[in-house]
């Protein structure tokens, strides 16, 4: 699966990236985590408020850092 963390390099975005990478490892998922920082690409994916999280091309969270359990749940659903 393809996971995208989208953010312009703010502290919250990096925090989300870390949590996603941690969850992927812990759940032993076969996933490709991509960190998108280009403002235009972020906006063109339909995200208006960073940090954003996309799983297989679907936006699952924007504008906040979800809890770790939430992230795991999203990953398992995706």
């Amino acid at each position: 699966m393809e996971i995208k963390v989208l953010g312009s390099g703010c502290a919250k975005c990096k925090h989300l990236l870390q949590m996603v990478e941690f969850s992927v490892k812990e759940l032993a998922l076969d996933a490709n985590v991509i960190y998108v920082t280009d403002m235009i690409s972020i906006a063109m994916s339909g995200i208006m408020n960073t940090p954003g999280l996309m799983i297989n091309g679907k936006i699952v969270s924007t504008g906040r850092v979800p809890r770790l359990e939430e992230i795991k749940e999203m990953l398992l659903k995706g």
Partner: protein
């Protein structure tokens, strides 16, 4: 004691923090022993009183406004806006701009997101003008310095500027000056519909608080520092000559100087405070503040990525002229209102 005495007392103690002013003054004159009619004394007391006051108010206000904002996400704003047409859409856009979370770094995603959803660019610009200009925290801080009358007038003219600015951009039919890639299809567009719990909202508010404080603390310190220098060291006669009521160009100078500057409204308020204490007209000072917050070089460079130069020039001109008019208007009416 009647109600207005109680309200005034609350305003003085909670917002203006008169107790803090007295405490800081007592500290420097009695504990440190600096004579109260020296320049250093007035610069130092101004600096410490303002820094402490702004950080206390900011922390409380950002927390409260983030909690409210957790109900008004950008996605929800877009949904509400897509149901309104014409000038009411500009009005709703400007109003939502005041409560939707915003930082100048999110102007591009918002611009693209709104435009893709089919909103007229005039409505998007109404939102983009009012968003940095007016928000709960800055209005309460403004009230803590200049009183509620001025703060509410500021909100009113800010919203009027956003409505008129956006409406003009719609009238000029500027859609063709948006970069064409903005209209391309979005790849993924399923929006989250997570119900946040109260605990989530509290956590979000705390996140926002630390995030915003981390971003603005340096602007506050620099702003208060400049304010303190003006307060203590720059002669009133010099400021009077450049920005004073007798210089007919004072508002224009303040606006032009303010535009390229990139600072947070929280950093500009202490400068505004110091200038007003030196006798600069309130309209001149507000024009400076509005120019700094509404337009800045970094945000214009970002916007340039999504709109063509012509639209950018129109946007900057409308906002600049609007701010100058508001400045002269305030300089004219505040003496009449006895403020």
């Amino acid at each position: 004691m009647d109600l207005s005495t109680i309200l005034n007392w609350l305003n003085d103690q909670l917002l203006r923090m008169v107790w803090l002013d007295n405490l800081v003054k007592w500290f420097f004159s009695e504990v440190i022993g600096i004579h109260s009619d020296t320049l250093a004394y007035s610069a130092l007391t101004f600096f410490f009183y303002d820094v402490i006051k702004i950080f206390i108010l900011l922390s409380v206000l950002i927390y409260i406004s983030s909690y409210i904002q957790s109900y008004f996400t950008v996605e929800k704003t877009r949904k509400i806006l897509s149901k309104v047409k014409g000038i009411p859409a500009n009005i709703v856009g400007s109003l939502l701009g005041t409560i939707t979370p915003f930082c100048s770094c999110s102007s591009i995603p918002i611009f693209i997101g709104f435009t893709k959803a089919g909103l007229p660019i005039g409505v998007t610009f109404s939102f983009l003008i009012s968003s940095p200009l007016v928000d709960l925290a800055s209005v309460v801080l403004l009230a803590s310095i200049f009183g509620w009358k001025i703060a509410l007038l500021y909100v009113l003219v800010g919203i009027i500027l956003a409505v008129i600015g956006g409406t003009l951009i719609t009238l000029f039919k500027m859609e063709k000056y948006v970069e064409s890639f903005v209209y391309q299809q979005i790849n993924g567009s399923v929006e989250e519909s997570v119900m946040l719990t109260k605990k989530d909202r509290r956590r979000y508010s705390l996140d926002q608080l630390t995030d915003i404080l981390k971003r603005v603390w340096k602007y506050v310190l620099i702003g208060v520092g400049i304010g303190a220098l003006i307060h203590g060291y720059i002669p009133a006669s010099f400021i009077e000559a450049v920005l004073g009521k007798n210089n007919p160009f004072s508002v224009v100078i303040a606006t032009i100087v303010g535009i390229p500057m990139y600072a947070d409204i929280f950093g500009t308020l202490p400068i505004a405070e110091a200038l007003v204490l030196k006798g600069v007209g309130l309209g001149t000072v507000l024009a400076f503040m509005m120019a700094v917050t509404a337009l800045s070089l970094p945000s214009l460079i970002l916007l340039k990525k999504v709109v063509k130069t012509k639209l950018l020039v129109v946007f900057v001109s409308i906002v600049t002229v609007g701010i100058i008019i508001i400045g002269y208007l305030f300089n004219f009416i505040t003496p009449l209102m006895g403020i």
